[in-house]
Amino acid sequence: MNLELRQIVMLLGTLTCLLGVILSIRTARTRFDRIETSGQDVNMGITRLPALAFAKLVAFAALIALPAGAVFIANYHTFEGVHEVRGCASCHVMLPMVNDMRDPNSGTLAARHYKNRWIAEDQCYHCHSDYGLAGNLEAKMTGFRHLARYTSRTYHEPIEARVRFDNKNCLNCHAGTPRFEAVQSHKTAHERLVSNQMICLNCHGQAHPTSAQRTPGSNDYARLMEKMK
């Protein structure tokens, strides 16, 4: 069987949750005041624990360790999962970006990078590399804010980015390549590009569909919002 890390993590998370539920039920049914009187040791294989200590251990696992583990695994899974394009596409406000990226006739930066296979996989994450598990705290906060807005349906289309896009996402791949260095304007604007005072898009155009295209009722809206196949 050929399991990807993501699937293993998902399986592990599911098992953790199941175990947590089972142990929680068990803990709930435990009468701690009666254990003392019965007082039998429990055989743990490598050691023997008094029944009360065992019950407390189970309670600790059920109420603290396993939930914490589940939260960690869930976060890990989310952060890793959203590296994938379909992770982004699972929120329907992101459909216009993903649909446009996969449209061979689109001229946006995202579409050109995708069509020309400049990025082999995880195309969204490659240019927005601050939101993964290793990303910065600000991106995490932004991500949770998006989650809160999305799940509570308290957002308005077209959505707008609040934080400034970091040019590093572009420069990581492009800086230093002969084609990049051959352009005089890149030298002229070097300081401003590195310090994010000037955005790369000023010369290279739209990255995604415009806010006008993403506004409900626009000519392109229905096409951009088509469900992913």
């Binding site: 061979p104 949770f144 809160a148 005089q184 304007s185």
Partner: protein
């Protein structure tokens, strides 16, 4: 006590068993959870919001070239802190390096902050009252002693529409002289005369968005990679999305545009009418013409009399590719290939600019490019259009449309036509006969009239003719011979050095007004900053002058909005009708393309096309309504060699142009550190073979000499220069290459031939 009897351990069986304490605890828990969640969310909202570096984004238009890119200006604490391309504007968020540096434009050094009057040879500070009092007195004296034609206005494609309109009205209907011209004469006059003679009306039929649909781009005399970069980026994006798209570049130099093209035809300077005529020959010879389009929409003319298709074909016989290839410098095979591709592509878009316009045959060249589109039917469909790019942000809207040129009147009228004069007199409510029937002085002839004293006082606004005119030394001296008034934004320019009065002007977003870019699109720039010192808008200066010269009752509209309202009302009496383009709409919308007769009209992307253009008769499909028979004219335009043919004495061709980082004479862009660094001093580019023959190496100083003057500068060898061609950019006042440029112009458009000068080159010994 057993647990069963302890009420604390008793599990509730029904709701009535739940104690009040338990209910409160549960509610408290839920409230705490909700509170924690809300607090986290609220905290996140606040924390994420705090990252904004801009307080407010304002919509405006770039200050520089004729592309007229929409920009978003980020303001914080009264300062411009960021500029981005406006993704909703026609340029879809794309700018060039100059546009990206706009925040620095608001902070350039050397701004002119006080009016100045020349006293004992030196410009010294004066009050507005003193300066304007002197200007008005000198103008009044000259008008009184030598008549209204002894004064002149020389404007700019960088003034706002409201300013050019007001100047035109003041001089033509107030002072009663048609001596109103400006730097657009040096830039797109041939495109205007080309369009007017072909279609009856000025301005391009197509739009920038045609680049998204074209399959074949024919760029001739245009280095758009450097001069109109957002448009070339659009062309490249079209090619990236559709790799079958072909780009052809016709240019004597291997420019950046040529480098990024599929086919480069390096013609010999001054000969490309041979190429266009040869392409027309191939089109008819190979039966590639669109006969039904020709039959329905085209009339032939030799310039004086009507002709027919047979006469046109006979005329083309002497331009067979094999007959012209030697003189043109491009092989017959290449000519035939390009002609075939031009005619047979699903949609062909031609783009041209100064390489075509700044020529003694500029009008003919423009006619012929339009002809190639007309005879192949490559017009009036998305992607199929002839399109002249323009150099300045408001040459089209401000000067061509308002008729602020010496032969013109607003809305496509001309001073030579008595009916046109009468119409404008009625619209402006001035007595019949107010507007002079005498065509005023065009740019070059205006400065010649200053030279010999026919023009005694001139107001120059927002331009630097001391550096931009050909044979520059001659016309710098001419300004000395006249009472020259210059309004400018920066201290010290080649023009100011010869001026008697200098007036400090507001720059870009220090004043409000409308600009009209290359595709008939009007856009509004808001006032976001206060001008430095005593600087004022040019409109305020013109209103002041009108008042002082006693024309206050004529110039009643005195704010940008009031002038615009008057001008759009005036436009409604013409086929340029844009009455529907109000300030309110311009504040909300991303510019609007005329014709746009009503406030609910969306504007016209493609002119002469039914469904787009409101003036096309229903059912006509395509209708060239600017001409009386509603047909476009195909002219028989013979090639005549430039007067600047190379000779033994002057064996090389000098040609001039722009570089990406600099705009015009660099008065604005060269004051921005990064842009100055990027270009350094202008140099002469020589082909290595020419350089070797002349014993010149990169870094050597050379003297470039023509019949008109000589310039000394540093040489640089590059394959980009065709053999026999030397190039210098005109932004650098230290080089001032225009001192050597030939003083010839097109007899129809009066546009000087900056692109062809025969020169000799010699190494300067240290």
């Amino acid at each position: 006590m057993s647990s069963e009897s302890d009420p604390r351990h008793k599990r509730p069986q029904t709701f009535s068993d739940i104690t009040r304490r338990e209910v409160l605890l549960t509610l408290g828990g839920v409230a705490a959870a909700v509170g924690a969640g809300a607090a986290t969310w609220g905290g996140l909202e606040l924390m994420v919001r705090s990252r904004q570096t801009v307080e407010r984004w304002n919509k405006a238009v770039c200050r520089f070239c004729g592309t007229g890119c929409g920009v978003m200006i980020g303001m914080k604490e009264g300062r411009v802190v960021d500029v981005r391309g406006d993704e909703l504007a026609h340029n879809k968020g794309v700018l060039c390096i100059k546009g990206s540096m706009l925040p620095e434009l608001t902070r350039i050094g050397g701004r002119l902050t006080s009016p100045k009057i020349r006293r004992r040879g030196k410009l010294v500070d004066a009050s507005w009252d003193e300066a304007m009092g002197l200007v008005a007195a000198k103008f009044a004296e000259s008008i009184h002693q030598s008549g209204p034609d002894s004064v002149a206005f020389y404007g700019s494609g960088q003034l706002l529409t409201e300013e050019s309109y007001t100047a035109n009205k003041l001089f033509k209907a107030g002072i009663r002289t048609n001596n109103v011209d400006g730097n657009p004469r040096l830039c797109m006059a041939s495109a205007a005369t080309g369009y007017i003679s072909t279609y009856g009306k000025d301005e391009p039929p197509g739009c920038y968005a045609d680049a998204d649909y074209a399959h074949f781009f024919f760029l001739i005399g245009a280095n758009s990679y450097e001069c109109h970069q957002p448009i070339f980026e659009r062309i490249r994006q079209r090619k990236r999305a559709n790799p079958d798209t072909l780009i052809v570049c016709v240019d004597p130099r291997r420019t950046k545009t040529a480098e990024h093209s599929d086919i480069h035809l390096p013609v010999i300077p001054g000969t490309d009418l041979l190429l266009l005529n040869a392409m027309a020959f191939v089109i008819f010879d190979q039966g590639l013409q669109n006969q039904s389009f020709i039959d329905r929409h085209v009339r032939f003319s030799d310039g004086e009399h009507d002709a027919d298709q047979a006469a046109f074909r006979r005329f083309l016989q002497s331009y067979a590719p094999e007959k012209v290839e030697q003189e043109l410098g491009v092989s017959a095979t290449d000519i035939r290939r390009v002609a075939y591709l031009f005619a047979t592509s699903p949609a062909t878009m031609s783009l041209w600019t100064m390489g075509i316009n700044q020529r003694t045959q500029g009008t003919s060249l423009n006619n012929m490019i339009n002809t190639l589109h007309l005879v192949t039917g490559q017009i009036g469909r998305p992607g199929a259009t002839p399109f002249s790019l323009t150099g300045q942000p408001n040459a089209c809207g401000g000067v061509r449309d308002t008729g602020a040129l010496s032969h013109a009147l607003p809305g496509g009228r001309v001073v030579a036509n008595p009916q046109h004069r009468r119409e404008m007199e009625q619209i402006w409510k001035v007595p019949e006969g107010t507007i002079s029937d005498k065509v005023g002085f065009d740019a070059v002839n205006l400065f010649r009239a200053m030279e010999d004293g026919r023009v005694k006082a001139a107001l120059i606004m927002c331009t630097n003719p001391g550096a931009t005119l050909p044979a520059a030394a001659r016309y710098q001296a001419a300004m000395e011979n006249c009472f020259t008034v210059v309004s400018d934004v920066v201290e010290d320019s080649e023009t100011q050095r010869h001026a008697q009065v200098v007036l400090p002007a507001a720059l870009w977003i220090e004043k409000e007004g409308v600009t009209g870019q290359g595709e008939r699109r009007y856009q509004l720039t808001p006032k976001l900053l206060t001008p430095p010192g005593q600087a004022r808008s040019d409109l305020e200066m013109l209103v002041d002058l009108a008042e002082r010269l006693g024309h206050g009752k004529l110039i009643t509209a005195r704010t940008p909005r009031a002038v615009w309202d008057e001008w759009r009302e005036v436009s409604s009496h013409s086929l340029y009708n844009f009455k529907g383009i109000t300030y309110d709409r311009l504040e909300k919308e991303r510019g609007l393309q005329w014709p746009c007769p009503t406030e609910d009209h969306p504007g016209t992307a493609r002119r002469y096309v039914e469904g787009d253009d409101p003036f096309v008769t229903k059912g006509a499909g395509i209708e060239f309504y600017g001409n009386h028979d509603k047909k476009a004219v195909v002219y028989l335009r013979p090639y005549t060699p430039s007067p600047e043919k190379t000779s033994m004495e002057y064996p090389l061709y000098l040609t001039t142009g722009r570089v990406l980082e600099q705009f015009h004479t660099g008065t604005l862009t060269d004051r921005i550190a990064e842009l100055h660094e990027a270009t350094g001093d202008a140099m002469f580019d020589l082909n290595p073979e020419d350089a070797r023959r002349l014993g010149v190496q990169t870094g050597d100083r050379i003297e470039v000499k023509s019949k008109y003057g000589s310039v000394t500068g540093e040489a640089r060898t590059t394959e980009a220069s065709r053999l026999g061609v030397i190039f210098a950019a005109f932004y650098d006042w230290k080089l001032l290459v225009n001192r050597a440029v030939a003083d010839n112009y097109d007899v129809t458009s009066k546009e000087p031939e900056f692109k062809v000068t025969a020169v000799s080159v010699s190494k300067v010994m240290a």
